[in-house]
Amino acid sequence: GAGVSQSPRYKVAKRGQDVALRCDPISGHVSLFWYQQALGQGPEFLTYFQNEAQLDKSGLPSDRFFAERPEGSVSTLKIQRTQQEDSAVYLCASSLGSSGGETQYFGPGTRLLVL
């Protein structure tokens, strides 16, 4: 069956440009997560949605980062006025339920390079 998909797979942006990253979770999955993975590091939590509700955005690095999931399925992570330190791989994951211990299924990621 279809897994988590993300688009674009690669994005090059000039500093100051706005970008939008898309995540299509597995159909029917309640929970959706965004992570940021810097080069040579493990993923770091950005934000969490349960259906359309954003329940945790404690990991968003600044107010330039914004995420939404308006209909409880597809999610978009938007970064305004990109900076070089935003260069990273952005991973999306979904899980069927919302309890701890659930398996998260990850997409292939969007590799963002800010010049």
């Binding site: 929970s31 040579g40 493990g42 945790d56 309890s99 701890g100 998260q104 990850f106 292939p108």
Partner: protein, 114 residues
């Protein structure tokens, strides 16, 4: 707050040799523990997880891990590795009873040589 330490950034090993990838965690409350594998240009894939019960957990591709509460460790093992096991391995924790926010270690690069 929870944290995860993967003690080795790189582990070189010959094909068919055994391997252990080490993971220690820090938490004041009960946690769930996970190992994920990341192949080049692919997303993370779950190898195994510990929620409760038997401390020895078996996963996919012949991997297993043992939860040791007293040592706060969750080391990953495989008795005989293959070239195809070359990848990045991540240990992760989350709060038991909470929602599924994963805290990852920095990763261990396993390089299997012929």
């Amino acid at each position: 707050a929870q944290s995860v330490t993967q003690l080795d950034s790189q582990v070189p090993v010959f094909e068919e040799a055994p391997v252990e990838l080490r993971c220690n965690y820090s938490s004041s409350v009960s946690v769930y523990l996970f190992w994920y594998v990341q192949y080049p240009n692919q997303g993370l894939q779950l190898l195994l997880k510990y929620l409760s019960g038997s401390t020895l957990v078996k996963g996919i591709n012949g991997f297993e891990a043992e939860f040791n509460k007293s040592q706060t460790s969750f080391h990953l093992r495989k008795p005989s590795v293959h070239i195809s096991d070359t990848a990045e391995y991540f240990c992760a924790v989350n709060l038991s009873g909470g929602y599924n926010k994963l805290i990852f270690g920095a990763g261990t690069r396993l390089a299997v040589h012929p």
